[in-house]
């Protein structure tokens, strides 16, 4: 996924310098562009770092940074050919260890992914985790994520991508309507415990997002795909707003505000109303809204529009009514 380059803090720049040196040591001669590609950074960032490395070193015997106490590069190759050749090395000869927190972040990430079909199974993951722990300068503990329970759907999605063929499956939307979909799978995404397939929907002639737990009867067809991931620009965010979205005003208990974060457009303002916060949310239809609000009973109330209030009230009343009918027990 394309990531926006971020401004680096001095600490990040230090980590970058300490990582770049051993990489350059392992390559007798390497171009700036290849190095930039490998690290996924702009070429100018590599050049800046190399210029700094080339004049850095240790105070040395004389405590005055004599020539032999500094790194050096072949300047002609650097300036004329944009290539990096280290000609003098100082102090460093290996990659740094991971910090305990860094290793802990990766280990927790691996735990989360350990049920994905590709990764040679849990034994391979466990060995990778212990390697990370050995490569850390402290005990990496404190953060853990439960393995996601991704179902067999993922294996079939992967198979259809491998073969370059369309996927067919039944999809039940929020209204309970079941439709057969034909899709060119583009990418699998997740948010916490929820997994999604983003794909080119042949019926809709557009990119659509499908919850894995709403898909059923998956079939890997023989029909070749028409869209590859490279052909389609996938927006970064799973939940895209649309101009057709419905706008709803909700009063919410302040501590529950994060639970609505997916539905609150960026830059929107809130204001206090009694002990609650009034906020505007955007939803694509009321079927999602009524579920959201009913789940947050006591924490969030729809203020307007009236038909949104009515939809929520009817949903909750219909649910409550089922408990009145004793015959159902």
């Amino acid at each position: 996924m394309a990531e926006r380059p971020r401004p680096l803090h001095a600490q990040d720049k230090l980590a970058f310098l300490l990582s770049l040196v051993p990489f350059l040591m392992d390559h007798d001669r390497i171009s700036v562009s290849e190095t930039a590609r490998h690290f996924g950074v702009p070429e100018e960032q590599i050049r800046d770092a190399v210029r700094l490395i080339a004049v850095s070193g240790v105070p040395g015997e004389t405590a005055s940074y004599q020539h032999g106490d500094l790194f050096d590069i072949a300047w002609d190759d650097f300036e004329e050919n944009d290539e990096i050749v280290l000609t003098n090395l100082v102090a460093i000869d290996d990659s740094p260890r991971f910090s305990a927190r860094e290793a802990a972040a990766l280990i927790a990430g691996l735990q989360y992914l350990s049920s994905l079909p590709e990764h040679g199974g849990r034994a391979a993951i466990a060995s990778l985790m212990s390697k990370l722990a050995r490569g850390a300068s402290g005990e990496p503990t404190g953060v853990a994520i439960e393995a996601s329970d991704v179902d067999e759907a993922l294996a079939l999605i992967r198979r259809s991508v491998e073969l370059g063929v369309q996927l067919r499956f039944g999809y039940r939307g929020l209204r309970g309507e079941r439709e057969e979909r034909r899709v060119d799978p583009l990418r699998v995404e997740s948010v916490d415990a929820d997994w999604y397939l983003r794909g080119w929907d042949h019926g809709r002639e557009a990119v659509r997002t499908f919850r894995l737990d709403r898909m059923s009867d998956l079939v890997v067809t023989d029909d070749p795909i028409r869209r590859r991931p490279a052909d389609v620009a996938l927006p970064d965010s799973l939940f895209e707003g649309s101009p057709d979205d419905l706008v709803v005003t909700v009063d919410v208990v302040p501590s529950a505000l994060p639970l609505l974060a997916d539905y609150i457009p960026e830059g929107s303002t809130t204001r206090a109303v009694g002990d609650r916060v009034r906020v505007t949310v955007r939803v694509s239809h009321y079927h999602g809204l009524k579920r959201l609000i009913t789940g947050l009973a006591g924490l969030a109330t729809v203020v307007e529009p009236p038909d949104a209030r009515r939809t929520v009230a009817e949903w909750a009343r219909a649910g409550a009514a089922r408990y009145g009918r004793e015959g159902e027990r």
């Binding site: 720049k13 405590a63 260890r97 990430g109 992914l113 050995r134 404190g142 853990a144 039940r172 929520v312």
Partner: protein, 329 residues
């Protein structure tokens, strides 16, 4: 004419020079040696005057360097214990270098990239980015995956960051916690053991100092700010995290709820796919760890679900539905 100011040395150059100087010394350098000779300090060092600012700078730099997992050591001179002037600083190469047997294959590198991507939003994103830098310094390129993944774990709760800090420093935390079923929050003093994401929710596993036992606290039920105290606690053994996860798994296995789902509904599709759910016609037996969270989820399905057992869950769901209906009536 005023004296021209010392040329400004960029922060990363000072930090890089400090790391190089401390790596290059076997016996360590005293603070005075560092401030008077190392690039970035020496330009601002006064042989006759007060170096208090520079000393404070050095303290902050040490913290920044240690945060990257670099083992910056302090050695006391024999016979001069407690004397700050004779303390020596160094970075032992053996503890700095990534052990030679910690290497990663292209396949492992791909997986670690994915594990880091999990954290691209929020709290641990800086750590995972740095871990990736160090990984790239080993020069192994990731493979192009067959199927593109964009996994994401979110941390929306404001409590996460202070709790993570407290975990790292082994400091007790205090916060107000609203236990389900209670109307007012109670003040807790807790020794954090681990932050665990379980079924998509973050919880703090810790030792409650007043209840004298380990407890799980859902982060979203922490009301108000978390205070990190200056009181420390003895670190828990590293396996405490795994023990807590096994305990959660045991609770999950033990607790079941029986529900009736409306045929052809969204609730039917999704609940049937929950992990470990067993099914007999429209009757599902679901597993859960937190009754309130399950009640929230089941209430959101409105009339699509009727809870049969346990009675307390039935009441909790019914209560939510009635409250929502009332609030929107």
């Amino acid at each position: 004419m005023p004296a021209s100011p010392a040329p400004r040395v960029p922060v990363e150059e000072r930090l890089f020079s400090l790391v190089l100087a401390l790596l290059a010394t076997e016996s360590g350098l005293t603070k005075t040696e560092i401030l008077s000779t190392v690039q970035g300090y020496r330009q601002r060092y006064s042989r006759t005057g007060d170096n208090a600012n520079l000393e404070r700078q050095f303290e902050r730099d040490k913290d920044d360097i240690r945060e990257l997992g670099i083992p910056l050591e302090t050695i006391e001179s024999p016979g001069a214990a407690g004397n700050n002037q004779t303390l020596r600083y160094r970075i032992p190469k053996g503890a700095y270098d990534l052990p030679a047997d910690v290497t990663f294959s292209a396949e492992e590198t791909t997986l670690l990239n994915l594990a880091a991507m999990v954290w691209r939003e929020g709290s641990l994103s800086a750590e995972s980015r740095r871990a990736l830098l160090k990984l790239r310094s080993l020069g192994v390129a990731a493979e192009d995956p067959v199927l593109g993944y964009a996994p994401r774990v979110r941390v929306r709760e404001a409590a996460f960051e202070p709790l993570r800090t407290a975990l790292d420093r082994h400091h007790l935390v205090e916060f107000d916690y609203l236990k389900p079923g209670e109307h007012s929050a109670r003040h807790r003093v807790v020794a954090p053991i681990a932050l665990i994401q379980h079924r998509g929710r973050w919880l703090l596993h810790g030792e409650d100092r007043n209840a004298h036992g380990t407890r799980n606290f859902l982060l979203r039920r922490i009301v108000g700010p978390v205070a990190v105290t200056s009181r420390s606690y003895a670190p828990f053994p590293p396996e405490a995290t795994a023990t807590a996860q096994r305990e959660l798994e045991r609770i999950w296995t033990e607790r079941t709820a029986e529900v009736l789902v409306e045929p052809g509904s969204d609730a039917e599709t999704r609940l049937a796919k929950r992990r470990d759910t067993s099914r007999e016609g429209d009757r599902l037996v679901l597993h859960y760890t937190d009754a309130e969270l399950l009640a929230e989820e089941l209430a959101s399905y409105g009339p699509e679900v009727l809870v049969l057992a346990p009675e307390s869950l039935r009441e909790a769901v019914r209560d939510r539905l009635e409250r929502t209906a009332l609030a929107h009536g």
